[in-house]
């Protein structure tokens, strides 16, 4: 209502609450405020509710029906879809794979990223260039990276050719088509793609470590290793914990990379929950939705448990402090 206040009388109503008819003014002011709130927040809220919240709710509804997506939604089957998914060894294999990738990512990518970041966190020539190049795999679309690796790792691809040329021809094999190792090859590709992001994140965290602390420790005669272990690492622990969180959620949602390289094969060796969902869900949205709900519940449980035990301190108010 600011405009009308000022229009009402520039000369004699300079004060914030002019005497005449304050009640009416406040009421129209309230109305105008709500109108503005509606105009500003309405579109975003509408889009968000219709295309994020509604589909998730619909997934929960569809999951109780045997449905092909075309006929009316009338064959209610209770929890049959859930039972069917959880009794399918292929889907169980998918869940196991998701968790294998999850733990392997944390245990392998984490230490690599921290070690490299600690080493690179100093003045050196070409630092900007090094950082940019390390980040290249992360910038590529997962599809493009996946297709590149698919070509490199094919039986007659670059990797095998290099192995043969350096006399390790015995190791040459169809990397992504060998059930015993396919998942680990997939994990290798994912590490290649995402470790650069982890390194940059750790480097950003390291920049928040006050140099006074390391300086003081150095004056007291602490070795480089001691300083890193007792001062730097504890101080970047929040960054590490957030990275672990992102990495876990990413591992559970894994789809693009697997879909373009192996489609979950050979014989389910690289199957994931999301791949399984898309494979069945396009013709059986009811069943696919049940898989989606399971995926959602697992992700949410992992996120909540992790937040409860690890992120408590870091997130204290992070999601709410924006408002207060």
């Amino acid at each position: 209502m600011a405009t009308s206040v000022i229009q009402a009388g520039p000369a004699d109503t300079a004060g914030p609450a002019p005497a005449p008819a304050p009640r009416i003014r406040r009421r129209t002011g309230q109305a105008r405020k709500w109108f503005e709130i509606g105009i500003f927040a309405g579109p975003a809220l509408l889009v968000f509710l219709s295309f994020v919240i509604l589909p998730v709710v619909l997934a929960a509804v569809y999951s109780f029906f045997n449905w092909n997506g075309l006929t009316p939604l009338e064959r209610f089957v209770g929890i049959d879809n859930y039972l069917r998914a959880l009794q399918d060894p292929l889907f169980i294999k998918g869940i196991t794979n998701n968790f294998t990738i999850l733990f392997a990512s944390i245990l392998v990518q984490g230490p690599i990223a921290i070690a490299v970041a600690l080493l690179l966190n100093r003045r050196m020539r070409g630092r900007g260039l090094i950082r940019a190049l390390i980040f290249v795999p992360y910038v590529l679309a997962e599809v493009v990276a996946g297709l590149s690796w698919k070509l490199l790792l094919s039986p007659r691809g670059g990797v095998n050719a290099v192995l043969e040329s350096i006399g390790l021809g015995d190791l040459a094999q169809p990397w992504l088509a060998t059930p015993d190792i396919a998942l680990w090859v997939m994990f290798g590709i994912l590490t290649w793609k995402y470790v650069g992001f982890a390194i940059l994140l750790m480097l950003a965290g390291l920049q928040g470590v006050p140099p006074e602390l390391t300086e003081a420790a150095q004056l007291d005669g602490a070795s480089w290793w001691k300083i890193q272990w007792h001062i730097t690492l504890p101080l970047i622990a929040p960054t590490i914990r957030i990275w672990i969180f992102l990495s876990m959620i990413g591992s559970l949602q894994l789809f693009d990379m697997v879909w373009v390289t192996t489609r979950g094969g050979p014989i389910g060796a690289t199957n994931t929950m999301a791949v399984y969902m898309i494979q069945y869900g396009q013709t059986q949205p009811g069943f696919g939705s049940a898989v989606a709900v399971i995926l959602f519940v697992i992700s949410l449980a992992v996120a909540l448990v992790y937040q409860r035990f690890a992120l408590r301190r870091d997130l204290a108010g992070a999601t709410t402090s924006g408002v207060r």
């Binding site: 600011a2 500003f40 927040a41 579109p43 889009v47 589909p55 997962e142 965290g205 924006g322």
Partner: protein, 302 residues
């Protein structure tokens, strides 16, 4: 809180970093060559697979089949020329651009408007509105994908650009709002009072003061939205490919995947197509590196 910090710190942070470097280096001199070796190894591992694809694109398919790891002799430009002369490649570039720009524009506009209300209006339900958007972070696209496809089909948006753009806007809103709210909040209240005294309404204040002052934040969320859209695969797969859109208008990730399946025997062309598909993302990254890195680490630091 932190988003503002991250976005606003880089300029002031530089001197501190330099000091830290000096100190860290002082006690670890013997390690300097070792550090370069490690850096070099990491860079090689990151870049060699990409270089293989690029260089492979300059070889003829028979050459590649004879020796998959060889150097181009001679360098051939046919593969690249053929891809660059094809309508499907440019169709994909066009499609990815339309979807990317549409998503970016939608997210930035809707996001800043919603964030403005949350940051600068005092009303009942404000906290709930913010929490609702924040909760959106826990709803991944993967979970909503199938019902979303059916929803889009029912409202006639399947197989259209809008069918990809609108859901992408919706799913990018949580991050956008979370980054922008503290940003808009940090704009001093004195400015708002001054604007009011000069006769500007809240809406005028939004257009004339908030938007110009929050440009850095808007660029960050815009870049994040654009990169996310450019690289997206699942939604275009379900909306465009399964929605019957002509192949020439599929986005690049879909187009590359389709091309590599269709011409799997012609390795040279597939390599060329793949490398050309990398180029826009890499160029955009070089152009917006600080924003991407700052935005990612900012969105993440907690």
């Amino acid at each position: 809180m932190t988003a503002t910090e991250v976005i606003t710190t880089p300029p002031g942070r530089a001197p501190r970093v330099r000091r830290a470097d000096r100190v860290a280096g002082a006690g670890f001199d013997w390690g300097q060559p070792f550090v370069y070796i490690v850096a070099l190894m990491v860079v090689i591992v990151s870049v060699v697979p990409v270089a293989y694809v690029w260089i492979g694109g300059f070889r003829s398919t028979p050459d590649i089949n004879a020796d998959p790891a060889g150097w181009p002799t001679p360098w051939i430009f046919d593969n690249y020329a053929r891809v660059l002369g094809s309508t499907r490649f440019w169709g994909s570039v066009f499609s990815s651009s339309v979807v990317g720009l549409g998503t970016t524009a939608g997210v930035v506009l809707l996001g800043v408007m919603a964030a403005f209300v949350i940051a600068r209006y005092d009303f009942r339900g404000r906290g709930a509105l913010y929490s609702l958007f924040a909760a959106g972070l826990m709803f991944p696209l993967t979970v909503a994908a199938l019902p979303l496809t059916i929803l889009l089909r029912d409202i006639g948006l399947q197989g259209s650009f809008l069918g990809v753009i609108i859901p992408q806007v919706a799913f990018a809103l949580p991050t956008t709002v979370i980054i922008l709210v503290p940003f808009l909040r940090a704009i001093p209240a004195e400015l708002e009072e001054a604007a009011a005294i000069d006769g500007a309404s809240r809406v005028g204040f939004f257009w004339r003061i908030i938007l110009p002052l929050s440009t850095p934040g808007l660029v960050t969320v815009g870049v994040l939205a654009f990169v996310g859209s450019w690289n997206a695969y699942l939604l275009p797969l379900l909306v465009m490919a399964a929605g019957g859109m002509p192949q020439d208008l599929w986005t690049l990730p879909l187009g590359v995947q389709q091309f590599s399946t269709q011409y799997s025997a012609d390795t040279g062309s597939v390599l060329a197509y793949t490398s050309l598909a990398m180029l826009p993302a890499l160029a955009f990254f070089l152009f917006a590196e600080k924003r991407i890195v700052g935005g990612l680490t900012g969105a993440v630091k907690g």
